[in-house]
């Protein structure tokens, strides 16, 4: 394996008496698609929040390209190239799809806020670039038909896509997708699976994702990390994970029924 782009090292998160993550350790290679799976409440979102800077680990650390990023505020982590999308649908409700994506280009601005206030040449150049890049992302995700739609009017499937578009607008190196296929039907899911692949293949992104849709996870992932009760219980290729007795047990013991294949 090449040098990892992201390392999760002994990450533990306690909320009072509850241990949401317990000594979780794994590496992520550049341009890898790695899925984190586990029953409801296993601690997957908590793990993502710690990687993206929304939650500080109780102990342990997250290393990105050799630098410790755990404990930094989210905007700094995003600036370094690690961006998370949310499990809950999170968009800017009272903006159009295109405005959502344009505003998310904030990190790419070269002009200062004062420059934007006075509308300097650099600011205008930035705005033009954001608009062009936003249209690019809209085309990439196939959102042309709804580009001027108010975000609050969108159906669930499109909201997910918009959430991803917002993440992409920051031009991250590593994107963390928390349940990107939730609320999608089979066709939509398969389309998104292809898109996520193309993110890696065409845009060179490293993708971490949390997902309950097992067929999609098995199809898309290079590797899978399985978490149960906050602890990593398995790590490996989709085939290895499917055959792992501890994983099967974790899923049989939960309401999620069997690990669908």
């Amino acid at each position: 394996m090449t040098a990892p782009i992201l390392q999760v090292k002994g990450v533990t998160k306690r909320y009072g008496g509850l241990t949401a993550n317990n000594d979780v350790t794994f590496d992520v290679a550049p341009r890898e698609i790695l899925s984190v799976i586990g029953p409801n409440g296993a601690g997957k979102s908590t793990l993502f929040k710690q990687i993206a800077g929304f939650v500080t680990p109780t102990t342990g650390e997250v290393i990105y390209k050799g630098n410790r990023i755990s404990g930094l505020p989210p905007h700094k982590v995003a600036r370094m190239g690690v961006v998370r999308t949310f499990q809950e649908t999170t968009i800017f409700k009272s903006m159009t799809v295109r405005e959502n994506i344009i505003v998310a280009h904030h990190l790419r601005s070269k002009a200062s806020l004062l420059g934007f206030f006075f509308g300097t040449g650099q600011a205008q150049a930035d705005e033009a670039e954001f608009a062009a890049s936003a249209d690019d992302i809209i085309d990439f995700l196939g959102l042309q038909a709804i580009r001027n739609e108010m975000a609050s009017n969108l159906p669930q499937g499109h909201l997910r896509a918009l959430g991803m578009a917002i993440g992409l607008a920051t031009h991250p190196d590593v994107i963390l997708l928390d349940e990107p296929f939730a609320g999608m039907n089979h066709d939509e899911t398969m389309r998104m699976v292809n898109l996520v692949r193309r993110l890696r293949d065409e845009r060179g992104l490293t993708v971490l994702l949390v997902e309950h849709d097992m067929p999609a996870v098995m199809k898309i992932s290079d590797r899978i990390v399985c978490i149960n009760f906050g602890e990593k219980i398995a790590e490996g290729t989709p085939a290895e994970i499917q055959a792992n007795p501890r994983v099967i047990e974790a899923y049989l013991g939960s309401e999620d029924a069997a690990i669908g294949m």
Partner: protein, 323 residues
């Protein structure tokens, strides 16, 4: 900018700087200057409150900054002989600085919690003014000289107000210019990236942080600009009344600033200006109702919020008008 918009702005400027003075000259209602000056200054302070609304915070503490700005100007003029024109920006900047120190901790609060803390600020400011030696306690600071001459390289830009035969007009023009500048700045903020980021903050703070916005910094920045406006307005009020007391701005004023924004509309930059005008004159007109004044006023406010929850200016939007 579209043509109707330019026309609208031209009409507005014409009304403020030409029609009003001509009208007052013809009718001889000189007291109108005082009223309109007050409206202009109150709308400057309300503009600040509106900007805090724009990042999703209910600010009921603008009176604290108006009071602080007023005292800064009064103290500098009376005790250090500083020109009023210098104290004006200093008062604004001082308030901005204070608001950074106060804002850093309290801007983490949201919703009603932030609102409650800001509500207390005005009272804290009043009590501080009562207690400090430099503010002269309850006796306040009086006999503050009128604004002196403002000159640059020996060139008189603004004459000494004391030498003018009509300082009322001068104050009106000063307040009107300040109001126009304030709303120009506000309009530019809202229509530049800074405003877009504020909207992102208002709509979803977590997401805003995740796209790389330094949300804490942006909140403090908006609040500082807001308080700057409050300080400016306060300083000019003091120059007009030539005096300041701990009770010059009280909780009721802070509440009013917020109401101006509500009534005018939170969706439009010019909402607070319209709201100030409507409520200020509305209150005066209702004085004919004597003891029922407050009742009718409050009743109308409640009705307005029920019928037009997004403010009076939302009527324009409904007709597909401009934003």
């Amino acid at each position: 900018m579209s043509n109707p918009r330019i026309l609208g702005i031209a009409a507005f400027l014409l009304a403020v700087f030409v029609l009003v003075p001509v009208f007052i000259n013809l009718t001889g209602r000189w007291d109108f200057y005082y009223t309109l000056t007050s409206v202009a200054l109150l709308s400057v302070a309300a503009a600040g409150v509106w900007l805090t609304f724009y990042i999703g915070r209910i600010n009921i503490g603008q009176g604290a900054y108006a009071l602080t700005g007023g005292y800064v100007s009064a103290i500098l003029i009376t005790q250090y002989g500083v020109s009023f024109w210098v104290t004006l920006p200093v008062a604004g900047l001082f308030c901005a600085l204070v608001s950074v120190v106060i804002g850093l901790p309290i801007l983490r609060l949201r919703g009603v919690y932030f609102a409650m803390v800001t509500l207390v600020l005005t009272e804290v400011a009043r009590l501080t003014a009562l207690a400090l030696p430099v503010t002269n306690g309850a006796k306040g600071i009086t006999s503050i000289p009128l604004p002196g001459e403002l000159s640059l390289f020996g060139l008189t830009i603004i004459p000494d107000f004391a030498t003018l035969e009509n300082p009322k007009l001068a104050f009106y023009l000063m307040a009107a210019v300040l109001m126009v500048l304030t709303y120009l700045v506000l309009w530019r903020i809202v229509n530049s990236r800074l405003g877009h980021l504020c909207r992102s903050l208002q709509q979803n703070e977590e997401l805003s942080a995740s796209i790389g916005v330094n949300t804490a910094m942006l909140r403090v920045l908006s609040y500082a600009i807001s308080s700057f406006f409050g300080g400016l307005a306060g300083a000019i009020f003091v120059a007009i009344s030539q005096s300041i007391y701990p009770s010059s701005f009280v909780v009721q004023d802070s509440v009013n600033f917020m109401l101006y924004c509500f009534v005018g509309g939170l969706g439009s930059v010019f909402g607070p200006m319209l709201g100030t005008l409507l409520l200020y004159f509305g209150w005066d007109l209702l004085s004919i109702a004597k003891e029922y004044q407050l009742l009718i006023y409050s009743g109308t406010m409640i009705a307005l919020m029920l019928v037009l929850p997004n403010g009076v200016l939302s009527l324009l939007d409904r007709k597909g008008g401009r934003k």
